[in-house]
Symmetry: C2
């Protein structure tokens, strides 16, 4: 059987990391956006064979266990211990890896949900918790999985794994999202550095303001302030953000954590923004709708791939 | 501006009521199904006028405040205190009222979400909590609102309002849902009677089994046992359930709480089930898909009504 899961890309606008020994209690507070582009996971289960084999591929290329340790760990826990046969997990990413779009969580969650659908031994939240657990353990991210299961423009109001943390949504209207990946950034390095204290302080201020006035307009204002005050958005990237702002009603900001920018676009701002990106010699950008649903899990017809 | 919200009908399969002084901590544990038919709420906001006026209509007929006290209370709390003008709330129900399909919660939640979308002062969960609060306070129901915001085949694993209670989902494949409304039943009367103790006991047994094996097949088996052992499914209704079972793989059961039956249908069971319903002289029934998303909130174009 072949199963397909779509998990939205998730952009964090600002955050407060919450570390905890128990990965189910670790997570983050903050806010972000789920996009209608992201990670597509196809899982093919073949019950023939004499041994248990799990293969994972990123964008069509098989990867070694160590390079996909999060998804391998998820698969290993989701596949029943008595299963004998082959499980192929094909993960396709609309956004580049390591740029802050939640690919790692998307692959982990897509893997968990496909296998929950196939083997019918775990619920939606149990599968999502397993994805969250290995994301946290191997430092893929803290809040992407729980954000992705809710969709929309989200506010993480209580940290933790799915079923423990709480995610709220802002209702919005008439926006698309521009995403501009400019380079990689190691989440791990930032979270291990001194800037974490500043992130916690500025994150708390930002969260309070968004909860007081839950609107995307406020969200983007506080996100930009967070990005600048933490010193994460500086130099060339800040210069590009300022150029983009000239075309936009709401300020652009930095994707947490990637060397990437994002912004809300109104329909009538799309053309001038494209022209500006061309002037800045930026060819690699995405304009997406916001994805307002849960991840989509379905049986995929053979032959329609 | 005209806003449309769709909230799925919600059928409870079994439940454990959790009463609490604080309505945000009251709720229910249990399991149920969200359907792709339900309640459509259209809200029209006209900022002209000298005073604040709120009008509610059920299926096109204006209703008095006392007959729509839950939705009036929700509207009153959701509309900003400084607002002057007219708010018309049109609620349309696919299923008959009082038969256990969550119409009251659908109307309350649809009203809350439309007004959150219009006035941008409250988040999704804040609006849903207000709907839950008045549902509980005026005994419309305990678990419908939180079930409806999650969609799908749901298991309520922690009781409480949206943002406090926890709802999980069972992943399923290839089923439609048959719903047969046969008569009204007062939720309030059942919850005030002695049968509550039996409901709590049988509900706990059912929940444990579904969590151990989270499959719709188990869900329907324990739901039917719950319905019979609590003495709620008896007499003519039980006779009809047994007739329906002859056409079905999974047992049918009773909607909690309404004099209504429901069942999962496979594609190849639809025709013989229709023939059986005809033989039983039952003309009023519904065959729906399961609704797997959050309630849909959107601006509705004038003229497309």
């Amino acid at each position: 059987m072949l199963i397909k899961v779509f998990v939205p890309a998730h952009i964090t606008a600002f955050f407060i990391p919450k570390f905890h020994e128990d990965p189910l209690l670790a997570g983050s507070l903050g806010a972000g956006i789920n996009l209608n582009k992201g990670t597509n996971v196809f899982v093919n289960i073949d019950e023939k064979g004499l041994e248990r084999r799990v293969q994972i591929a990123f964008d069509g290329e098989p990867v070694k266990k160590d390079d996909a340790i999060i998804s391998y760990s998820v698969a290993n826990e989701m596949i029943p211990s008595e299963f004998v046969g082959e499980v192929e997990i094909w993960q396709y990413f609309d956004f580049p890896n390591g740029h802050g779009f939640g690919n790692s969580a998307g692959g982990a969650l897509g893997t968990a949900l496909s296998l929950a659908y196939a083997f019918k031994e775990k619920t939606f939240l149990q599968a999502a918790q397993i994805a969250h657990k290995y994301e946290v353990q191997y430092k893929g991210g803290l809040g992407d999985v729980i954000a992705q299961i809710h969709g929309g423009v989200e506010i993480r109001v209580k940290a933790g794994a799915p079923g423990i943390g709480v995610v709220d949504n802002i209702l919005f209207e008439g926006y698309k999202v521009l995403a501009v990946p400019l380079g990689k950034l190691s989440t791990r390095e930032i979270l291990d550095s001194e800037v974490v204290e500043l992130i916690k302080k500025e994150g708390a201020v930002a969260l309070e303001e968004v909860l007081k006035q839950p609107r995307v307009e406020i969200l983007m204002n506080v996100a930009r302030r967070f990005a600048e005050r933490t010193g994460l958005l500086t130099g060339d990237m800040l210069d590009i953000a300022k150029e983009l702002d000239k075309c936009l009603t709401l300020p652009s900001s930095m994707v947490m954590l990637g060397k990437s920018l994002f912004a809300f676009l109104k329909e009538n701002e799309i053309e001038k923004t494209k022209t500006m990106l061309e002037e800045l010699s930026i060819e690699n950008y995405y304009i997406s709708d916001i994805y307002n649903q849960k991840p989509k899990v379905e049986r995929w017809m053979e032959g329609s791939l």
